[in-house]
């Protein structure tokens, strides 16, 4: 025994360990008075129970830590630490007892003081602590990520541990596949560490020694659940504190490829003992917020920054690209298709589709470059069907009118899923331009009924109108999702002939027409051309469609427009209004 053993402790910390020569010293250092903050006036003891290690820890090894330390030796010969934990509970002298069933768990610097303070908030308090693991990936995925004790040692060195214990938050992640923030407050499956009054521990009856699988199986979850079920108890989650799991060979979480098998064995045991799923506690809980550095610090900074700098906008888009959120609709459609085929017993069609894949891939790549459609079908995922050439041209055109200070708004007539308008809006956002609007004029119901001979060229098949109809809400949702919605994004829903003549637009710097038909093109030019500022750009997307081309040629001829036309690609043209 070292330290102040003669003073009756207010708090006992019970820690179980087995073959933890590497991990236990760090855990005990993290429990020591030099590391724990706010415990100067609160006497506490630490009871380590070794569960049969070949070279068990000795009190002398930790003499320098200034701990009121006791080490017990449990010789049950069983792989489960529950007997060891109960042995420690029986030896505990504190009015409060905090259990750490896994000796590889380091507490954060304010954990003990916060636990003691939180128990004062309720007579029958159960103090829940967030459970984090060192490393940036679940330790169960270690075999894929290469995580090891050596990697962990380097991580600890990188934050100069133990200088500031709160920096462990910087190198930790959630236990399973959740970001740590999700586990921050919500009491879940188990608490490690778990603090209750001695009376409450007695009422719970300690750990159930029927749990005999490696590591105690779900014993820790079980004791937390049983305590929460006791009448009048109140779970209090510690905000700002946590335990941090070090990787070790005897950990269920670090059993690498054996993890699923371990979970299966644990579940069988739990089902046998409790005949219900091993799940977390669902009970209202309080939060005891310690306002310690993690909540003030860098954990949240990056994700809360909404500064529309070019860098942030780019990274937001990159994030969406990496998460493939843009392909959500297609994935859902594809999945629905596969499920339908499978449930109809048509796996043969799924097989057959594989041979068609290379050809389709070539067509899709072609469509990405040249734009438009694959056959008569729209691409299922893209937010624009203009293709790279026309999208790049649009970008250059918008940048040019902005750099040359051509006055006016940007407008697209015929927006489909809104991709081209998003490019316009994205450029304005990246340049922090707030005095120009982006207008989206569309029926949001697809193309109008063709006006007999006027619109029907006879050369082009009527397009798949159902594929062209995208609702205003869908377009708005895409703008929201991509982070470009603002009060400067203006919608003009309705047929061009109804909306454009009265649209509240004063000046236009860039007019992009994508209406396909003669009448749509002519309506838009007639209503808006005079609002285009000198130096402004007019882009026609569908000049390859004969009736659209006819409308453009006729309008230019009638109005005496002789500015040279530039060809963008096989269908896009543009000109600039003379200054």
């Amino acid at each position: 025994m070292t330290g102040t053993a003669d003073i009756a402790p207010h708090l006992s910390v019970v820690v179980a360990c087995y073959e933890m020569a590497r991990e236990l010293p760090r855990t005990l250092l993290a429990l020591s008075p030099s590391y724990q903050r706010g415990m100067e006036a609160i006497p506490y003891e630490v009871i380590v129970v070794d569960n049969g290690s070949a070279f068990p820890p000795q009190v002398e090894d930790f003499a320098g830590l200034g701990l009121d330390l006791k080490i017990l030796y449990c010789n049950s010969g069983l792989p489960s630490p529950v007997q060891a934990m109960n042995m420690g509970l029986a030896a505990a002298r504190g009015k409060l007892i905090c259990t750490i069933i896994d000796g590889a768990r380091m507490p954060s610097p304010g954990l003990l003081a916060a636990s003691v303070a939180a128990t004062r908030c309720h007579d029958r308090a159960i103090i829940y602590t967030s459970t984090l693991v060192l490393g940036f990936y679940p330790q169960s995925a270690a075999e894929f990520t290469g995580y090891s004790a050596e990697v962990e040692d380097r991580l600890l060195q990188s934050i100069d541990w133990p200088k500031d214990g709160y920096r462990l938050f910087e190198i930790s992640s959630g236990l399973i596949e959740q970001p740590s923030i999700l586990q921050w407050y919500a009491p879940g499956f188990e608490s490690n560490a778990l603090t209750m009054s001695r009376d409450l521990w007695n009422e719970v009856g300690g750990y159930d020694e029927a749990f005999q699988t490696d590591g105690g199986g779900y014993a820790s979850s079980d004791v937390f659940y049983r305590a929460a079920e006791l009448p009048g108890t109140q779970i209090i989650a510690l905000g700002g504190e946590a335990t941090f799991h070090q990787t070790h060979t005897k950990s269920a979480a670090a059993s690498h490829k054996d993890f699923p098998e371990q979970a299966r064995i644990m579940t069988r045991e739990f089902q046998r003992l409790r005949t219900r799923p091993p799940k977390g506690v669902r009970k209202p809980y309080w939060v005891f917020q310690t306002n310690t550095p993690p909540l003030q610090g860098k954990m949240f900074k990056a994700s809360t920054s909404k500064e529309p700098s070019p860098e942030n906008l780019y990274l937001d888009l990159l994030e969406q690209r990496l998460l493939n959120t843009g392909a959500r609709e297609a994935e859902a459609r594809l999945r629905a298709l596969l499920v339908t085929l499978k449930s109809a017993g048509r796996e043969d069609l799924i097989e057959a589709s594989k041979s068609a894949y290379p050809r389709q891939l070539r067509r899709v790549i072609g469509a990405e470059t040249e734009g438009l459609l694959v056959g008569n079908e729209v691409l299922p995922t893209a937010l624009t069907m203009t293709g790279k050439k026309r999208l790049s041209y649009l970008r250059r055109a918008v940048e040019t009118v902005l750099e040359q200070a051509i006055p006016g708004d940007l407008i697209e007539c015929g927006v489909w899923r809104g991709g081209s308008a998003m490019m316009m809006a994205g450029i304005l956002a990246a340049r922090r331009i707030n005095d120009r609007s982006v207008w989206l004029a569309d029926s949001f119901e697809g193309l109008p009924v063709m006006d007999g001979d006027l619109d029907c060229s006879g050369f082009v098949e009527p397009l798949n109108n159902a594929g062209l109809a995208v609702s205003e809400n869908t377009v708005r949702a895409s703008f929201e999702e991509i982070g470009l919605m603002s009060d400067r994004i203006r919608f003009l829903p309705g047929w061009f002939c109804d909306t454009l003549p009265h649209a509240p637009i004063d000046r236009i710097a860039l007019l992009r027409l994508d209406g396909d038909h003669y009448s749509s093109t002519m309506d838009a030019l007639t209503a808006l051309y005079d609002k285009v500022s000198p130096g402004g750009v007019i882009i026609i997307d569908d000049y390859a469609l004969p009736r659209c081309a006819e409308a453009v040629d006729e309008f230019r001829a009638t109005r005496g427009i002789f500015e040279p036309v530039e060809r963008i690609d096989h269908t896009g043209i543009a000109w600039r209004k003379q200054a």
């Binding site: 699923p260 069988r268 799923p277």
Partner: protein, 84 residues
């Protein structure tokens, strides 16, 4: 070994999953997709363990992973001879 009764398996799995996922029983039917209900791969393994314990049998570890819904699961168990 006596074959399991399909109705019993359906009733148990429904109860287990609705308990496990905190869902109302009416949210669950033979065609409800496990993944869409929120079941992940670890959960599938856990349920497999509980299933074995309850029905005193051994099942392939991928049973709940390779079947998207209860209907498919029962068919699978029938084909492997576990369910009558």
């Amino acid at each position: 070994m006596t074959k399991l009764d399909a109705d019993q398996v359906i009733a148990w799995t429904t109860k287990y999953l609705t308990d496990f996922l905190d869902l109302p029983p009416e949210a669950f039917d033979l065609d409800a997709e496990f993944a869409a209900l929120g079941l992940d791969s670890v959960d599938s393994v856990i349920i497999g363990g509980a299933f074995e314990e309850t029905f005193n049998c051994e099942i392939d570890a991928t049973l709940f992973l390779r079947n998207a819904n209860l209907r498919s699961l029962i068919d699978d168990l029938r084909q492997s001879g576990l369910v009558a």
